[in-house]
Every structure is written in C-alpha cells, then in structure tokens.
C-alpha cells in the first residue's frame, strides 16, 4: 500500500515542514451538487451507495419518521433527512441528502493523528485510507458536519468516499448516477457552480427570493454543495450548519498546542539538565562527607 502519491494535496498526520508530494495540483476540482429543491427524498442514492460500496446496514425499525437508516453509520454513508415546516399556511417538506461534504479544508483531516489515514486528493475528494486508520475518532470531532463514524466491528472510521473508485476510472459517483430527478449532479466544481447559478435563478423566478448555493467559506468551500431554496436559513434542512467552521478547539489542539507542548518538553528537559549541571546531585553520602570535612 502506497502511502503517498503526487496527487495528494493534503495528508493527515503529516508535518507542514514535510508535506506530501503535491506538484500535480493543476487539476480540475470535482464537485457534487445536490439540489434539494428537486429532491423527492426517494433514497435511491442511499441504496445505490450501499449497493456499490457493498454496505449492508442492519434492518432497523420505524421510529415514527421516514428516515431509515436513522443516521449515518459505518455501514450507511448517506441518509436522507426529512423536515416538515409550515410557514404562512404553506407546508414544505424539506429533504436533504446528508453525508460527507468533502471540505476544501477538511476538519477530519486536520484532527486525524494517523499519517496518511485521511487524504485530500488534488481533485478535491477527501478520502479515508482505512489501512492507516487507527479508529481514534479524532476525525469525528474535527468534522463540522458530524459525518465520520467509527465502526464497532473493525474500529475504523468510515464515510462517503465520493465513490473515489468510480471517479478514478472516469465514472460519476453511484448516488449521482442513480438520482431519478437529477437532484444530484456531478462535474467540475466550476461547472457545478454554474449549474447552481441557473437553478438559483430559476428558483428565484418561482418566488424563492432567498435561494442560494451552500458552499460554506468557513471550511474553504466544499466539494459537495447544496442548492437551497432557503439559503438564508440552512438550519431548516435538518440542522445544516449556517456557518460551519472547524471548531477552534481543534485549531488549538492541532495547531499552536503541539509546538507549545514540544517547547514545554524541551524547556523542561533543558531546565533539568542545566539545573543538574549547576547544582549537581545531592548525594547523602557526599553530604555526610562534606559535613564531616
């Protein structure tokens, strides 16, 4: 298993002083665009994802809602989330496909302590290299979208790979291909932004004045974007964060704290050494002799 390729833009657990080889970054960035305004919540993407990736979630229960499986898990990499809102007498059933957003500045990668367990490809895909995953769950805490899940069977982290195995041979992700209403599109990020513009204009012409693109700046933009009819209130879509950012604690932990700790060790060791050199050992035997003398 190769741990490095020239196509990684970033690689977890890798020192900024010794970055991965990444000369080949003049590449088209890919993106998945999810247009929630034409999503019918059919779950084809869920099934296609499970089918292609050979995942089988346990058959669960109905708990009084349409969601099933109820949440993301190591065997469920995408779920439809349903929300009913009623405003001004008009009912809306907001349905959002949830899963990895493939952030440009991935919090999971930042939090991951295992070298090469999380990589960001030059095309924007953030992928977990399970071989290197140690199952610590730091990625879970790094993700602003609550996406990665640790398997209780093999204790490794899992999430959507954007069907990196399909994309790598020139196909689209399974969920994109299967989407009955073309609510999921795939292409270069530029193209997807353009498609989104057209969709937003169309939605605005239908009275959704706040229609917009969800490509949050706080994580450097994402390679999974949403067209929302209420882009001003993303939280309506079952808690899509309005302004997602990597939590500052993660920034501190994986940022300044590390050199501080290193300095702490250095200082402590140095202090001890210097102290020893200055004061020397205190040996009761010598002391005795000193006193005697």
């Amino acid at each position: 298993m190769s741990l490095q390729t020239q196509d990684y833009l970033a690689r977890s657990g890798t020192n900024a002083l010794t970055p991965p080889p990444r000369a080949r970054d003049a590449q088209l960035k890919v993106a998945k665009l999810i247009d929630v305004s034409i999503c019918i919540g059919c779950k084809a993407c869920q099934v296609a994802c499970a089918e292609w990736n050979d995942l089988r979630e346990e058959v669960g229960f109905n708990v009084g809602k349409y969601e099933n499986p109820l949440n993301l898990s190591s065997e469920t990499w995408t779920v439809m989330r349903f929300n009913e809102i009623e405003e001004n007498g008009k009912l809306q059933w907001l349905i959002r496909k949830d899963g990895c957003m493939h952030c440009s500045d991935p919090g999971c990668l930042k939090a991951c302590p295992s070298p090469g367990a999380i990589v960001k490809h030059a095309n924007g895909i953030v992928d977990f290299i399970s071989e290197n995953c140690i199952g610590c769950g730091y990625c879970v805490t790094g993700c602003p979208f609550d996406v990665p899940r640790i398997s209780s069977h093999d204790k490794r982290a899992y999430k959507c790979t954007l069907c990196v195995d399909r994309v790598s041979v020139g196909q689209e992700p399974a969920c994109v291909k299967t989407c009955p209403t073309s609510a999921i599109r795939f292409g270069t990020k530029e193209d997807m932004k353009h498609v989104a513009e057209e969709r937003i204009a169309e939605l605005q012409s239908r009275g959704f004045a706040n229609a917009g693109l969800y490509d949050p700046e706080g994580v450097g933009g994402t390679h999974v974007m949403y067209v929302l009819h209420h882009a001003d209130r993303p939280e309506l879509y079952n808690g899509l964060p309005k302004d997602p950012k990597i939590n500052p604690l993660i920034g501190f932990w994986k940022g300044i704290f590390k050199p501080l700790a290193a300095v702490g060790f250095a200082v402590t060791f140095a202090a001890a050494a210097l102290h020893y050199l200055a004061v020397g050992p205190i040996d009761p035997e010598e002391h005795d002799e000193e006193e005697k003398s």
Binding site: P115, G135, V140, N247, T268
Partner: protein
C-alpha cells in the same frame, strides 16, 4: 530495622508505583504518537498503530488503578499544612540544593505534596475524558462537542502530567538514594536525615518506643 536503613515505602506502595510507572510509559508512548504524528513510530512497540489505539485506554485504566493505590497509601501524608509554608518561602534556596539547610521536611515536602495532587488531579481528568472519548464504545454516547472538549482536555492534561512526571523523575535522580527507596522500600538514614529529617525523627521515635517496649 537495620542500623543504616529505614523503611520508606511498603511493598504494596512500591508495586503501585511501578505499575503506574510502567503503564504510564506505555500510555505515554502511544499517547505521544497520537499527539505528534511524527512520532508515529513509537506505536511500533505495540505491534501496529491500531493495537496502540486499542491498548492505550486499557493501560490508561491500569495506570489509574496504580494511581489509586498510591492515592490510598499516600493521601494521609499529602495534606498541605502550616509546616509547609517555609518550603514555599525558600523555594529558590531549595532549588539551589539547600533544602536541608532551610526547611525541616516531614514525610513529604510541599513540592512532593503538590506533585501528588497534580498527578491525582490530572489522572482524574485523564480517566474521565479518556472514557468519554473512547471509540467506539463510549464516545458515540456523548455529543461530539463534549467528546471534542474531552480530547483536548485529555491531551492538555496528558502533556501536563508528562511534564510533571519528568520533574518528578528528575527530582528522584537529583536526590541520590531516592530511587532505591522505591525499589527496595528502604532508604538510608543519612538520606532520610538529609531530606526528611522530621519524618526520620518520628520513625526513630517509634523505633525507640518499640525497642524500649521490647527491653522492658
């Protein structure tokens, strides 16, 4: 009791200490590898990084068990009291190696007592945060924000603990004759007289009473 030696640490206390030391090293090596990915190679001593991740919390619990023993054994002697005040006022002199000149230490000096409470405190934080962040068993039961906070607190306390332990180990190294106390359980009366004269007096007082009882 020998003429030269006095018993300082019971067998149970020594086992507790070395159990703690051993497990501390294990968790530290793996923990450091998790904290500094460049030290990933440290996990090799466990076989694989995955095993390191698996064993880290288990040795953490062992370390906490060791600490519990130490706590039970030592807590009575670790209460700071007014006799410790001079130690603080003379800390510079002490660092210069003139402790015996400026204070008269009992069983533990104030620095040791503080270290004790620091270790116990950090140990408590480590075990609580460690369990909350333990994947895949307990972490999924808590909100991500709590787990995240726990992980950061865990690493902060771990680093603090490591620094504390370095100081602790250095002190043991600096005060020659200390380490044998923790290995063999006994220290020389000279050592005791130098570092813990008040404690030695109390011991000797006890010995006198004992021998007079014997002789009477």
């Amino acid at each position: 009791m020998s003429k030269h030696l006095v018993r300082r640490h019971s067998y149970v206390a020594r086992v507790g200490h070395w159990l703690t030391v051993f497990s501390f090293f294990v968790v530290t090596l793996s923990g450091l590898a998790f904290f500094f990915p460049s030290l990933r190679w440290l996990t090799a001593i466990f076989g694989t990084p995955q095993l390191a991740q698996l064993l880290h919390p288990i040795f953490g619990i062992i370390m906490i068990l060791g600490l519990c023993i130490l706590f039970v054994k030592n807590v009575a002697h670790a209460i700071l009291d007014k006799d410790d005040v001079p130690w603080f006022t003379n800390v510079i002199e002490i660092l210069k190696g003139r402790e015996h000149e400026v204070v008269e230490v009992g069983q533990y000096n104030a620095g040791q007592k503080m270290l004790f409470w620091t270790i116990i405190g950090l140990g408590a934080v480590l075990i609580v945060t460690g369990i909350i962040a333990w994947q895949p068993y307990f972490a999924p039961l808590f909100p991500v924000s709590v787990v995240r906070l726990c992980l950061v607190l865990h690493s902060l306390s771990a680093i603090a603990l490591m620094l504390g332990i370095i100081v602790h180990a250095y002190m043991a190294f600096w005060y020659k004759g200390t380490i044998r106390g923790m290995i063999r359980g006994t220290v020389t009366r000279k050592w005791a007289a130098l570092h813990h004269p008040r404690w030695l007096r109390e011991i000797e007082k006890g010995e006198d009473a004992h021998s007079s009882r014997l002789s009477s």
